[in-house]
Amino acid sequence: MKKSSIRNKRRITVFDSVNNTVLLLIAVVCIYPFLYILFIACSDGTFLTRGQVDFFPKGFNIESFKYVLTNPKFDIFTGMKNSFIYTLFGTLIAVVFTYITAYALSRPRLKQRYVIMTLFVITWVFEAGIIPQYIVYSKLGFIDNIWVMIVPGAINTQFLLITKAFLDGLPAELEEAAFIDGGTDFQTLTKVFLPISKPILATIGLFNAVSIWNQYLVPQMFLKSDNLKTIQQILKSVVITSGNSGTVFTNVMRNGFTLNQNNMKAAAIFIAMTPIACIYPFVQKYFKKGILIGSVKG
Protein backbone atom coordinates (compact mmCIF):
# COMPACT_ATOMS: atom_id res chain seq x y z
CA MET A 1 0.00 0.00 0.00
CA LYS A 2 2.65 2.45 1.08
CA LYS A 3 4.96 1.44 -1.73
CA SER A 4 2.37 2.08 -4.40
CA SER A 5 1.60 5.52 -3.05
CA ILE A 6 5.26 6.41 -3.24
CA ARG A 7 5.37 5.20 -6.80
CA ASN A 8 2.30 7.35 -7.47
CA LYS A 9 4.23 10.41 -6.41
CA ARG A 10 6.84 9.82 -9.09
CA ARG A 11 4.20 9.65 -11.83
CA ILE A 12 3.51 12.84 -13.68
CA THR A 13 -0.05 13.94 -13.02
CA VAL A 14 -2.17 16.67 -14.61
CA PHE A 15 -1.32 18.86 -11.64
CA ASP A 16 2.39 18.39 -12.34
CA SER A 17 2.21 19.26 -16.01
CA VAL A 18 0.04 22.34 -15.43
CA ASN A 19 2.23 23.45 -12.53
CA ASN A 20 5.45 22.94 -14.52
CA THR A 21 4.08 24.82 -17.51
CA VAL A 22 2.80 27.77 -15.48
CA LEU A 23 6.04 28.15 -13.53
CA LEU A 24 8.18 27.84 -16.66
CA LEU A 25 6.00 30.57 -18.18
CA ILE A 26 6.58 32.76 -15.12
CA ALA A 27 10.33 32.25 -15.47
CA VAL A 28 10.16 33.22 -19.14
CA VAL A 29 8.04 36.29 -18.34
CA CYS A 30 10.70 37.30 -15.81
CA ILE A 31 13.44 37.42 -18.40
CA TYR A 32 11.37 38.26 -21.50
CA PRO A 33 11.83 42.04 -20.93
CA PHE A 34 15.60 41.55 -21.08
CA LEU A 35 15.27 39.59 -24.33
CA TYR A 36 12.87 42.18 -25.73
CA ILE A 37 15.54 44.85 -25.21
CA LEU A 38 18.06 42.63 -26.99
CA PHE A 39 15.64 42.09 -29.90
CA ILE A 40 15.13 45.84 -30.28
CA ALA A 41 18.85 46.52 -30.15
CA CYS A 42 19.48 43.93 -32.88
CA SER A 43 16.62 44.94 -35.19
CA ASP A 44 16.53 47.34 -38.10
CA GLY A 45 15.04 50.68 -37.10
CA THR A 46 12.47 50.71 -39.88
CA PHE A 47 10.71 47.62 -38.47
CA LEU A 48 10.71 49.17 -35.00
CA THR A 49 8.96 52.29 -36.19
CA ARG A 50 6.24 50.11 -37.68
CA GLY A 51 5.91 48.27 -34.36
CA GLN A 52 6.83 44.88 -35.79
CA VAL A 53 9.35 43.64 -33.23
CA ASP A 54 7.86 41.53 -30.42
CA PHE A 55 9.30 38.06 -30.03
CA PHE A 56 12.35 37.97 -32.27
CA PRO A 57 14.64 40.50 -33.95
CA LYS A 58 13.79 41.71 -37.46
CA GLY A 59 16.49 42.83 -39.86
CA PHE A 60 19.16 41.42 -37.56
CA ASN A 61 22.32 43.52 -37.09
CA ILE A 62 24.64 44.60 -34.31
CA GLU A 63 25.37 48.09 -35.61
CA SER A 64 23.57 49.76 -32.69
CA PHE A 65 26.05 48.30 -30.18
CA LYS A 66 29.03 49.47 -32.22
CA TYR A 67 27.45 52.89 -32.70
CA VAL A 68 26.66 53.67 -29.05
CA LEU A 69 29.99 52.30 -27.82
CA THR A 70 32.09 54.31 -30.26
CA ASN A 71 30.10 57.52 -30.47
CA PRO A 72 31.43 59.84 -27.74
CA LYS A 73 28.18 61.80 -27.42
CA PHE A 74 26.61 58.89 -25.53
CA ASP A 75 29.42 58.43 -22.98
CA ILE A 76 28.47 54.74 -22.77
CA PHE A 77 32.06 53.61 -23.11
CA THR A 78 33.29 56.06 -20.45
CA GLY A 79 30.48 55.03 -18.12
CA MET A 80 31.26 51.33 -18.51
CA LYS A 81 34.98 51.92 -18.00
CA ASN A 82 34.37 53.98 -14.84
CA SER A 83 31.90 51.48 -13.42
CA PHE A 84 34.37 48.67 -14.03
CA ILE A 85 37.16 50.51 -12.21
CA TYR A 86 34.97 51.48 -9.24
CA THR A 87 33.55 47.96 -8.95
CA LEU A 88 36.94 46.26 -9.18
CA PHE A 89 38.73 48.39 -6.58
CA GLY A 90 35.64 48.93 -4.45
CA THR A 91 35.07 45.19 -4.14
CA LEU A 92 38.70 44.52 -3.35
CA ILE A 93 38.81 47.11 -0.56
CA ALA A 94 35.38 46.10 0.73
CA VAL A 95 36.32 42.42 1.02
CA VAL A 96 39.64 43.15 2.73
CA PHE A 97 38.21 45.72 5.18
CA THR A 98 35.12 43.66 5.99
CA TYR A 99 37.12 40.49 6.51
CA ILE A 100 39.84 41.91 8.75
CA THR A 101 37.30 43.86 10.81
CA ALA A 102 35.11 40.79 11.21
CA TYR A 103 38.18 38.73 12.11
CA ALA A 104 39.26 41.11 14.86
CA LEU A 105 35.69 41.40 16.16
CA SER A 106 35.30 37.63 16.34
CA ARG A 107 38.32 37.16 18.65
CA PRO A 108 37.10 36.66 22.23
CA ARG A 109 40.26 38.21 23.70
CA LEU A 110 39.29 41.54 22.15
CA LYS A 111 37.39 42.99 25.10
CA GLN A 112 35.88 45.95 23.24
CA ARG A 113 34.29 43.88 20.51
CA TYR A 114 30.70 44.17 21.76
CA VAL A 115 30.93 47.93 22.02
CA ILE A 116 32.34 48.26 18.51
CA MET A 117 29.79 45.88 17.02
CA THR A 118 26.97 47.76 18.74
CA LEU A 119 28.25 51.04 17.29
CA PHE A 120 28.21 49.52 13.80
CA VAL A 121 24.64 48.31 14.31
CA ILE A 122 23.49 51.71 15.60
CA THR A 123 24.77 53.47 12.49
CA TRP A 124 23.03 50.81 10.43
CA VAL A 125 19.63 51.21 12.06
CA PHE A 126 19.72 54.96 12.59
CA GLU A 127 20.20 56.68 9.25
CA ALA A 128 21.79 60.12 9.16
CA GLY A 129 20.22 60.93 5.81
CA ILE A 130 21.73 62.26 2.64
CA ILE A 131 22.26 65.91 3.59
CA PRO A 132 24.56 65.39 6.61
CA GLN A 133 26.29 62.67 4.61
CA TYR A 134 26.78 65.06 1.71
CA ILE A 135 28.12 67.86 3.94
CA VAL A 136 30.52 65.66 5.92
CA TYR A 137 31.77 63.75 2.86
CA SER A 138 32.39 67.01 0.99
CA LYS A 139 34.48 68.21 3.93
CA LEU A 140 36.45 64.97 3.59
CA GLY A 141 37.09 65.82 -0.06
CA PHE A 142 34.83 63.29 -1.74
CA ILE A 143 33.19 65.58 -4.29
CA ASP A 144 34.20 64.52 -7.79
CA ASN A 145 36.59 62.06 -6.23
CA ILE A 146 36.43 58.46 -7.42
CA TRP A 147 37.35 57.24 -3.92
CA VAL A 148 33.78 58.00 -2.84
CA MET A 149 32.82 54.84 -4.72
CA ILE A 150 35.52 52.76 -3.07
CA VAL A 151 36.21 53.68 0.55
CA PRO A 152 33.21 55.05 2.50
CA GLY A 153 30.89 52.13 1.68
CA ALA A 154 33.57 49.47 2.11
CA ILE A 155 32.28 48.16 5.42
CA ASN A 156 28.61 47.34 5.09
CA THR A 157 27.22 46.43 8.52
CA GLN A 158 25.10 43.60 7.18
CA PHE A 159 28.02 41.95 5.40
CA LEU A 160 30.14 42.53 8.50
CA LEU A 161 27.58 40.66 10.62
CA ILE A 162 27.47 37.80 8.11
CA THR A 163 31.25 37.47 7.96
CA LYS A 164 31.56 37.71 11.72
CA ALA A 165 28.91 35.01 12.17
CA PHE A 166 30.88 32.77 9.79
CA LEU A 167 34.13 33.32 11.70
CA ASP A 168 32.40 32.86 15.05
CA GLY A 169 31.25 29.48 13.80
CA LEU A 170 34.79 28.20 13.20
CA PRO A 171 36.33 26.11 15.99
CA ALA A 172 38.49 27.97 18.52
CA GLU A 173 41.11 25.19 18.31
CA LEU A 174 42.20 26.51 14.92
CA GLU A 175 43.56 29.67 16.47
CA GLU A 176 44.99 27.92 19.52
CA ALA A 177 46.90 25.47 17.34
CA ALA A 178 48.32 28.30 15.27
CA PHE A 179 49.43 30.16 18.40
CA ILE A 180 51.09 27.07 19.84
CA ASP A 181 53.10 26.89 16.61
CA GLY A 182 54.22 30.43 17.34
CA GLY A 183 52.05 32.18 14.76
CA THR A 184 51.17 35.85 15.04
CA ASP A 185 47.71 37.26 14.37
CA PHE A 186 48.64 38.20 10.80
CA GLN A 187 50.01 34.72 10.11
CA THR A 188 47.02 32.99 11.66
CA LEU A 189 44.69 35.14 9.59
CA THR A 190 46.41 34.56 6.26
CA LYS A 191 47.59 30.97 6.67
CA VAL A 192 44.82 29.38 8.74
CA PHE A 193 41.60 31.37 8.40
CA LEU A 194 41.80 32.82 4.90
CA PRO A 195 41.97 29.46 3.06
CA ILE A 196 38.87 28.11 4.78
CA SER A 197 36.95 31.38 4.33
CA LYS A 198 36.70 31.17 0.54
CA PRO A 199 32.91 30.64 0.40
CA ILE A 200 32.15 33.66 2.59
CA LEU A 201 34.71 35.80 0.73
CA ALA A 202 33.13 34.87 -2.61
CA THR A 203 29.68 35.68 -1.30
CA ILE A 204 30.45 39.08 0.21
CA GLY A 205 32.68 39.90 -2.79
CA LEU A 206 29.85 39.24 -5.21
CA PHE A 207 27.25 41.12 -3.20
CA ASN A 208 29.58 44.09 -2.84
CA ALA A 209 30.43 44.03 -6.56
CA VAL A 210 26.78 43.96 -7.56
CA SER A 211 25.88 46.74 -5.18
CA ILE A 212 28.73 49.01 -6.33
CA TRP A 213 27.96 48.33 -9.99
CA ASN A 214 24.26 49.02 -9.50
CA GLN A 215 24.22 52.00 -7.18
CA TYR A 216 22.83 55.23 -8.47
CA LEU A 217 22.35 57.57 -5.49
CA VAL A 218 25.96 57.84 -4.28
CA PRO A 219 27.55 58.60 -7.67
CA GLN A 220 24.67 60.95 -8.49
CA MET A 221 25.35 62.87 -5.26
CA PHE A 222 29.11 63.10 -5.53
CA LEU A 223 30.36 62.49 -9.07
CA LYS A 224 29.36 65.51 -11.14
CA SER A 225 32.03 65.58 -13.88
CA ASP A 226 31.05 63.84 -17.08
CA ASN A 227 34.30 61.89 -17.25
CA LEU A 228 33.68 60.28 -13.81
CA LYS A 229 30.05 59.22 -14.27
CA THR A 230 28.97 55.61 -13.89
CA ILE A 231 27.01 53.66 -16.47
CA GLN A 232 23.88 53.92 -14.29
CA GLN A 233 24.05 57.72 -14.35
CA ILE A 234 24.57 57.65 -18.11
CA LEU A 235 21.50 55.42 -18.52
CA LYS A 236 19.43 57.90 -16.54
CA SER A 237 20.48 60.85 -18.69
CA VAL A 238 20.57 59.08 -22.06
CA VAL A 239 17.65 56.66 -21.83
CA ILE A 240 15.24 57.81 -19.14
CA THR A 241 15.38 61.60 -19.03
CA SER A 242 16.04 62.43 -22.66
CA GLY A 243 12.43 61.55 -23.53
CA ASN A 244 11.43 61.17 -27.12
CA SER A 245 12.65 64.40 -28.59
CA GLY A 246 16.30 64.23 -27.55
CA THR A 247 18.53 65.76 -30.16
CA VAL A 248 21.23 63.19 -29.32
CA PHE A 249 19.17 60.70 -31.23
CA THR A 250 19.01 61.36 -34.93
CA ASN A 251 18.43 58.43 -37.21
CA VAL A 252 21.58 57.21 -38.93
CA MET A 253 22.40 54.64 -41.57
CA ARG A 254 25.14 52.15 -40.77
CA ASN A 255 26.20 49.46 -43.27
CA GLY A 256 22.75 49.51 -44.85
CA PHE A 257 20.82 49.33 -41.57
CA THR A 258 18.71 52.13 -40.12
CA LEU A 259 19.42 52.99 -36.51
CA ASN A 260 16.84 55.04 -34.67
CA GLN A 261 16.71 56.22 -31.08
CA ASN A 262 15.01 53.03 -29.88
CA ASN A 263 17.84 50.90 -31.26
CA MET A 264 20.42 53.09 -29.57
CA LYS A 265 18.62 53.20 -26.20
CA ALA A 266 18.08 49.44 -26.20
CA ALA A 267 21.73 48.86 -27.04
CA ALA A 268 22.76 51.14 -24.17
CA ILE A 269 20.48 49.30 -21.71
CA PHE A 270 21.72 45.92 -22.83
CA ILE A 271 25.37 46.91 -22.57
CA ALA A 272 24.77 48.16 -19.01
CA MET A 273 23.38 44.82 -17.86
CA THR A 274 25.79 42.58 -19.77
CA PRO A 275 28.47 42.19 -17.06
CA ILE A 276 25.99 40.92 -14.48
CA ALA A 277 24.14 38.74 -16.98
CA CYS A 278 27.48 37.22 -18.03
CA ILE A 279 28.72 36.26 -14.58
CA TYR A 280 25.28 35.28 -13.28
CA PRO A 281 25.17 31.65 -14.53
CA PHE A 282 28.53 30.91 -12.94
CA VAL A 283 28.03 32.59 -9.59
CA GLN A 284 24.33 32.18 -8.90
CA LYS A 285 24.96 29.47 -6.31
CA TYR A 286 26.91 32.04 -4.27
CA PHE A 287 24.10 34.53 -4.72
CA LYS A 288 21.64 31.96 -3.42
CA LYS A 289 23.88 31.18 -0.45
CA GLY A 290 24.24 34.90 0.23
CA ILE A 291 20.50 35.44 0.27
CA LEU A 292 20.11 32.63 2.76
CA ILE A 293 22.78 33.66 5.23
CA GLY A 294 21.77 37.29 4.81
CA SER A 295 18.26 36.43 5.88
CA VAL A 296 19.25 34.80 9.16
CA LYS A 297 21.13 37.73 10.53
CA GLY A 298 23.49 36.92 13.39
Binding site: S5, D54, F97, L119, T123, A128, L140, I155, I291, K297
Partner: protein
Protein backbone atom coordinates in the same frame (compact mmCIF):
# COMPACT_ATOMS: atom_id res chain seq x y z
CA UNK B 1 51.79 52.92 44.74
CA UNK B 2 52.12 49.97 46.98
CA UNK B 3 51.24 46.67 45.47
CA UNK B 4 48.56 44.74 47.25
CA UNK B 5 48.98 41.04 47.40
CA UNK B 6 50.11 38.01 49.26
CA UNK B 7 53.76 37.81 50.13
CA UNK B 8 55.29 34.43 49.78
CA UNK B 9 58.83 33.25 49.71
CA UNK B 10 60.12 32.84 46.23
CA UNK B 11 63.41 31.48 44.98
CA UNK B 12 66.40 32.32 47.14
CA UNK B 13 64.14 33.41 49.98
CA UNK B 14 63.25 36.66 48.24
CA UNK B 15 59.78 37.97 48.84
CA UNK B 16 57.62 37.76 45.72
CA UNK B 17 54.28 39.48 45.42
CA UNK B 18 51.52 37.58 43.72
CA UNK B 19 48.96 40.16 42.72
CA UNK B 20 45.49 39.44 44.07
CA UNK B 21 43.78 42.42 42.53
CA UNK B 22 44.07 43.72 38.98
CA UNK B 23 47.03 45.78 37.93
CA UNK B 24 46.49 49.51 37.38
CA UNK B 25 44.49 50.37 34.29
CA UNK B 26 47.37 52.02 32.45
CA UNK B 27 49.53 48.96 32.85
CA UNK B 28 46.76 46.64 31.74
CA UNK B 29 46.10 48.71 28.62
CA UNK B 30 49.79 48.67 27.84
CA UNK B 31 49.96 44.92 28.22
CA UNK B 32 46.81 44.40 26.18
CA UNK B 33 48.09 46.69 23.43
CA UNK B 34 51.36 44.78 23.33
CA UNK B 35 49.76 41.39 23.31
CA UNK B 36 47.04 42.22 20.81
CA UNK B 37 48.98 44.77 18.76
CA UNK B 38 48.29 43.07 15.44
CA UNK B 39 44.64 42.60 16.29
CA UNK B 40 44.24 46.34 16.85
CA UNK B 41 46.06 47.04 13.61
CA UNK B 42 43.55 44.82 11.82
CA UNK B 43 40.75 46.76 13.46
CA UNK B 44 42.14 50.15 12.46
CA UNK B 45 40.45 50.55 9.03
CA UNK B 46 37.15 49.50 10.58
CA UNK B 47 37.42 52.01 13.42
CA UNK B 48 38.42 54.82 11.08
CA UNK B 49 35.54 54.20 8.72
CA UNK B 50 33.16 53.84 11.64
CA UNK B 51 34.16 57.27 12.95
CA UNK B 52 34.52 59.15 9.68
CA UNK B 53 31.91 57.64 7.40
CA UNK B 54 29.26 56.39 9.79
CA UNK B 55 29.41 58.62 12.87
CA UNK B 56 30.50 61.69 10.89
CA UNK B 57 27.14 62.07 9.16
CA UNK B 58 25.31 61.26 12.42
CA UNK B 59 27.15 64.15 14.04
CA UNK B 60 26.29 66.27 10.99
CA UNK B 61 22.63 65.93 11.90
CA UNK B 62 23.06 68.76 14.46
CA UNK B 63 22.51 71.17 11.56
CA UNK B 64 18.80 70.40 11.97
CA UNK B 65 19.04 72.65 15.06
CA UNK B 66 21.08 75.35 13.35
CA UNK B 67 20.76 78.00 10.68
CA UNK B 68 23.33 76.12 8.69
CA UNK B 69 25.47 78.08 6.31
CA UNK B 70 28.00 76.32 4.13
CA UNK B 71 30.49 79.14 4.70
CA UNK B 72 30.39 78.93 8.48
CA UNK B 73 30.35 75.15 8.60
CA UNK B 74 28.69 72.75 11.03
CA UNK B 75 30.51 74.12 14.09
CA UNK B 76 30.33 77.78 13.12
CA UNK B 77 26.66 78.15 12.24
CA UNK B 78 24.37 79.71 14.86
CA UNK B 79 21.75 77.71 16.75
CA UNK B 80 18.15 77.85 15.71
CA UNK B 81 16.58 75.66 18.36
CA UNK B 82 13.47 73.87 17.18
CA UNK B 83 12.66 76.43 14.49
CA UNK B 84 12.76 73.92 11.62
CA UNK B 85 10.72 71.32 13.45
CA UNK B 86 8.01 73.87 14.15
CA UNK B 87 8.06 74.74 10.47
CA UNK B 88 7.58 71.06 9.56
CA UNK B 89 4.39 70.87 11.61
CA UNK B 90 3.01 73.94 9.84
CA UNK B 91 3.90 72.70 6.36
CA UNK B 92 0.84 71.07 4.71
CA UNK B 93 3.07 69.40 2.11
CA UNK B 94 4.57 67.20 4.86
CA UNK B 95 1.27 65.36 5.26
CA UNK B 96 1.23 64.70 1.54
CA UNK B 97 4.78 63.31 1.70
CA UNK B 98 3.96 61.12 4.67
CA UNK B 99 0.83 59.85 2.93
CA UNK B 100 2.73 59.02 -0.27
CA UNK B 101 5.48 57.26 1.67
CA UNK B 102 3.06 55.14 3.66
CA UNK B 103 0.85 54.28 0.68
CA UNK B 104 3.88 52.97 -1.23
CA UNK B 105 5.00 50.96 1.80
CA UNK B 106 1.56 49.50 2.48
CA UNK B 107 1.14 48.57 -1.18
CA UNK B 108 4.51 46.82 -0.99
CA UNK B 109 3.36 44.93 2.07
CA UNK B 110 -0.07 43.92 0.76
CA UNK B 111 0.74 43.22 -2.89
CA UNK B 112 4.43 42.31 -2.92
CA UNK B 113 4.63 40.25 0.26
CA UNK B 114 2.34 37.25 -0.53
CA UNK B 115 3.63 36.65 -4.08
CA UNK B 116 6.92 34.90 -3.19
CA UNK B 117 5.09 32.67 -0.71
CA UNK B 118 2.63 31.47 -3.36
CA UNK B 119 5.45 31.12 -5.88
CA UNK B 120 7.54 29.06 -3.43
CA UNK B 121 4.58 26.80 -2.59
CA UNK B 122 4.06 25.88 -6.24
CA UNK B 123 7.75 25.70 -7.05
CA UNK B 124 8.13 23.22 -4.22
CA UNK B 125 5.68 20.93 -6.02
CA UNK B 126 7.98 20.61 -9.03
CA UNK B 127 9.71 17.29 -8.60
CA UNK B 128 12.04 17.47 -11.61
CA UNK B 129 15.27 18.96 -10.30
CA UNK B 130 16.28 20.52 -13.62
CA UNK B 131 13.02 22.45 -14.05
CA UNK B 132 13.03 23.47 -10.39
CA UNK B 133 16.57 24.87 -10.65
CA UNK B 134 15.94 26.57 -13.99
CA UNK B 135 12.80 28.36 -12.81
CA UNK B 136 14.39 29.43 -9.55
CA UNK B 137 17.57 30.74 -11.19
CA UNK B 138 15.66 32.86 -13.69
CA UNK B 139 13.25 34.15 -11.06
CA UNK B 140 15.89 35.80 -8.91
CA UNK B 141 18.06 37.15 -11.71
CA UNK B 142 16.19 40.53 -11.79
CA UNK B 143 17.21 41.18 -8.18
CA UNK B 144 20.80 41.65 -9.30
CA UNK B 145 20.02 44.01 -12.19
CA UNK B 146 20.29 47.71 -11.38
CA UNK B 147 17.29 49.95 -10.86
CA UNK B 148 18.50 52.13 -13.73
CA UNK B 149 18.34 49.17 -16.14
CA UNK B 150 14.98 47.97 -14.80
CA UNK B 151 13.40 51.42 -15.06
CA UNK B 152 14.89 51.88 -18.54
CA UNK B 153 13.43 48.57 -19.69
CA UNK B 154 10.03 49.34 -18.18
CA UNK B 155 9.86 52.73 -19.87
CA UNK B 156 10.99 51.23 -23.19
CA UNK B 157 8.20 48.67 -23.04
CA UNK B 158 5.67 51.32 -22.01
CA UNK B 159 6.85 53.96 -24.48
CA UNK B 160 3.87 55.80 -26.00
CA UNK B 161 5.38 55.71 -29.48
CA UNK B 162 6.84 52.24 -30.07
CA UNK B 163 6.57 50.33 -26.79
CA UNK B 164 5.11 46.84 -26.96
CA UNK B 165 2.38 47.64 -24.42
CA UNK B 166 1.09 50.71 -26.21
CA UNK B 167 1.33 48.84 -29.52
CA UNK B 168 -1.15 46.35 -28.05
CA UNK B 169 -3.35 49.12 -26.67
CA UNK B 170 -3.39 50.83 -30.05
CA UNK B 171 -4.09 47.53 -31.79
CA UNK B 172 -7.23 47.26 -29.66
CA UNK B 173 -8.30 50.62 -31.00
CA UNK B 174 -7.61 52.69 -27.89
CA UNK B 175 -5.38 55.70 -27.46
CA UNK B 176 -1.83 55.24 -26.20
CA UNK B 177 -1.20 55.87 -22.50
CA UNK B 178 1.68 58.13 -21.46
CA UNK B 179 2.66 56.02 -18.46
CA UNK B 180 5.77 58.00 -17.54
CA UNK B 181 3.83 61.23 -17.02
CA UNK B 182 0.72 59.80 -15.39
CA UNK B 183 0.39 60.23 -11.60
CA UNK B 184 -2.21 57.45 -11.47
CA UNK B 185 0.19 54.95 -13.04
CA UNK B 186 3.18 55.72 -10.83
CA UNK B 187 2.23 53.47 -7.91
CA UNK B 188 1.26 50.44 -10.04
CA UNK B 189 4.55 50.77 -11.94
CA UNK B 190 6.57 51.09 -8.73
CA UNK B 191 4.90 48.02 -7.23
CA UNK B 192 5.23 46.06 -10.47
CA UNK B 193 8.98 46.76 -10.55
CA UNK B 194 9.29 45.71 -6.94
CA UNK B 195 7.50 42.41 -7.58
CA UNK B 196 9.59 41.74 -10.67
CA UNK B 197 12.82 42.56 -8.88
CA UNK B 198 12.25 40.82 -5.55
CA UNK B 199 9.79 37.90 -5.71
CA UNK B 200 12.34 35.28 -6.75
CA UNK B 201 14.84 36.61 -4.24
CA UNK B 202 12.36 36.50 -1.35
CA UNK B 203 11.21 33.03 -2.39
CA UNK B 204 14.73 31.59 -1.88
CA UNK B 205 14.27 31.83 1.90
CA UNK B 206 10.91 30.05 1.86
CA UNK B 207 12.13 27.34 -0.49
CA UNK B 208 15.07 26.62 1.80
CA UNK B 209 12.70 26.29 4.75
CA UNK B 210 10.52 23.89 2.75
CA UNK B 211 13.38 21.56 1.90
CA UNK B 212 13.92 21.05 5.62
CA UNK B 213 10.55 19.30 6.01
CA UNK B 214 10.80 15.61 6.90
CA UNK B 215 9.60 13.56 3.87
CA UNK B 216 8.06 11.08 6.31
CA UNK B 217 5.38 13.68 7.06
CA UNK B 218 4.24 13.69 3.43
CA UNK B 219 4.30 9.90 3.27
CA UNK B 220 2.22 9.64 6.43
CA UNK B 221 -0.27 12.14 4.99
CA UNK B 222 -0.48 10.11 1.78
CA UNK B 223 -1.28 6.97 3.73
CA UNK B 224 -4.14 8.92 5.31
CA UNK B 225 -5.33 9.77 1.81
CA UNK B 226 -4.26 13.43 1.66
CA UNK B 227 -4.09 14.95 -1.82
CA UNK B 228 -1.68 17.58 -3.19
CA UNK B 229 -3.61 20.61 -1.93
CA UNK B 230 -4.10 19.20 1.53
CA UNK B 231 -0.37 18.51 1.81
CA UNK B 232 0.51 22.00 0.54
CA UNK B 233 -1.82 23.70 2.99
CA UNK B 234 -1.28 21.51 6.03
CA UNK B 235 2.37 20.46 5.80
CA UNK B 236 4.31 22.79 3.50
CA UNK B 237 2.69 26.06 4.52
CA UNK B 238 3.03 25.51 8.30
CA UNK B 239 6.66 24.53 7.77
CA UNK B 240 7.48 28.05 6.56
CA UNK B 241 5.29 29.84 9.09
CA UNK B 242 8.24 31.08 11.15
CA UNK B 243 10.00 32.43 8.05
CA UNK B 244 6.80 34.13 6.90
CA UNK B 245 6.26 35.80 10.28
CA UNK B 246 9.89 36.93 10.41
CA UNK B 247 9.80 38.37 6.91
CA UNK B 248 6.51 40.09 7.63
CA UNK B 249 7.87 41.70 10.79
CA UNK B 250 10.98 42.86 8.91
CA UNK B 251 8.79 44.36 6.17
CA UNK B 252 6.70 46.25 8.73
CA UNK B 253 9.91 47.57 10.31
CA UNK B 254 11.05 48.85 6.92
CA UNK B 255 7.84 50.71 6.19
CA UNK B 256 9.66 54.06 5.96
CA UNK B 257 12.31 52.66 3.66
CA UNK B 258 11.35 53.24 0.07
CA UNK B 259 13.63 52.32 -2.80
CA UNK B 260 15.08 55.79 -3.31
CA UNK B 261 17.10 54.81 -6.39
CA UNK B 262 14.00 53.48 -8.10
CA UNK B 263 11.86 56.56 -7.37
CA UNK B 264 14.59 59.02 -8.34
CA UNK B 265 14.97 57.19 -11.63
CA UNK B 266 11.23 56.86 -12.27
CA UNK B 267 9.70 60.13 -11.25
CA UNK B 268 9.50 63.56 -12.88
CA UNK B 269 7.73 66.77 -11.94
CA UNK B 270 4.44 65.69 -13.55
CA UNK B 271 3.98 62.78 -11.12
CA UNK B 272 5.03 64.46 -7.84
CA UNK B 273 1.45 64.26 -6.56
CA UNK B 274 1.82 60.49 -6.07
CA UNK B 275 5.55 59.87 -6.35
CA UNK B 276 7.07 62.45 -4.03
CA UNK B 277 8.08 60.83 -0.73
CA UNK B 278 10.06 62.10 2.27
CA UNK B 279 13.45 61.03 0.91
CA UNK B 280 12.93 62.40 -2.60
CA UNK B 281 11.80 65.70 -1.11
CA UNK B 282 14.95 65.85 1.02
CA UNK B 283 17.01 64.94 -2.05
CA UNK B 284 15.50 67.80 -4.04
CA UNK B 285 16.12 70.27 -1.21
CA UNK B 286 19.78 69.27 -1.26
CA UNK B 287 20.47 68.98 -4.96
CA UNK B 288 17.73 70.59 -7.00
CA UNK B 289 16.67 73.74 -5.19
CA UNK B 290 17.09 77.10 -6.81
CA UNK B 291 19.29 79.45 -4.82
CA UNK B 292 20.87 78.33 -1.56
CA UNK B 293 19.57 74.91 -0.49
CA UNK B 294 18.00 74.89 2.97
CA UNK B 295 20.12 72.07 4.36
CA UNK B 296 18.88 72.59 7.91
CA UNK B 297 15.23 72.15 7.00
CA UNK B 298 15.95 69.07 4.89
CA UNK B 299 17.95 67.52 7.72
CA UNK B 300 15.18 68.24 10.22
CA UNK B 301 12.67 66.46 7.97
CA UNK B 302 15.06 63.52 7.62
CA UNK B 303 15.74 63.43 11.36
CA UNK B 304 12.05 63.05 12.18
CA UNK B 305 11.77 60.27 9.60
CA UNK B 306 14.85 58.52 11.01
CA UNK B 307 13.47 58.66 14.55
CA UNK B 308 10.15 57.16 13.45
CA UNK B 309 11.93 54.48 11.43
CA UNK B 310 14.27 53.72 14.32
CA UNK B 311 11.43 53.24 16.80
CA UNK B 312 9.60 51.01 14.34
CA UNK B 313 12.66 48.84 13.68
CA UNK B 314 13.38 48.45 17.40
CA UNK B 315 9.76 47.50 18.10
CA UNK B 316 9.61 45.00 15.26
CA UNK B 317 12.96 43.55 16.27
CA UNK B 318 11.48 42.92 19.71
CA UNK B 319 8.39 41.42 18.13
CA UNK B 320 10.50 39.13 15.95
CA UNK B 321 12.40 38.03 19.01
CA UNK B 322 9.18 37.22 20.81
CA UNK B 323 7.04 35.65 18.10
CA UNK B 324 9.53 34.16 15.67
CA UNK B 325 12.47 33.62 17.97
CA UNK B 326 14.84 35.35 15.58
CA UNK B 327 16.28 38.83 15.63
CA UNK B 328 17.61 41.17 13.04
CA UNK B 329 20.57 42.12 15.14
Amino acid sequence: MKKKGMKILGKGNKAVTIPLTKKPLKQRIKKDLKKNRQLYLLLLPGIISLILFKFGPLFGMVIAFENFSAFKGILGSEWAGFKWFIKIFHDPYMLKLLKNTIILAVLSLVVVFPIPIIFALFLNEIKQKAIHGFVQSLSFLPYFISSAVMVSILFTMLSPTNGIVNNLIKAMGKTAIHFQASPAWFRPMYVFLQVWQTFGYSAVIYIAAMTAVDPALYEAAEVDGANRWVKMLHITLPSIAVSVITMFIISVGNIFTVDLDRILLMYNSSVYSTADVIQTYVYRIAFESSGFPNYSYGTAVNLLKSILAFILVMLTNKAADKYAETRLF
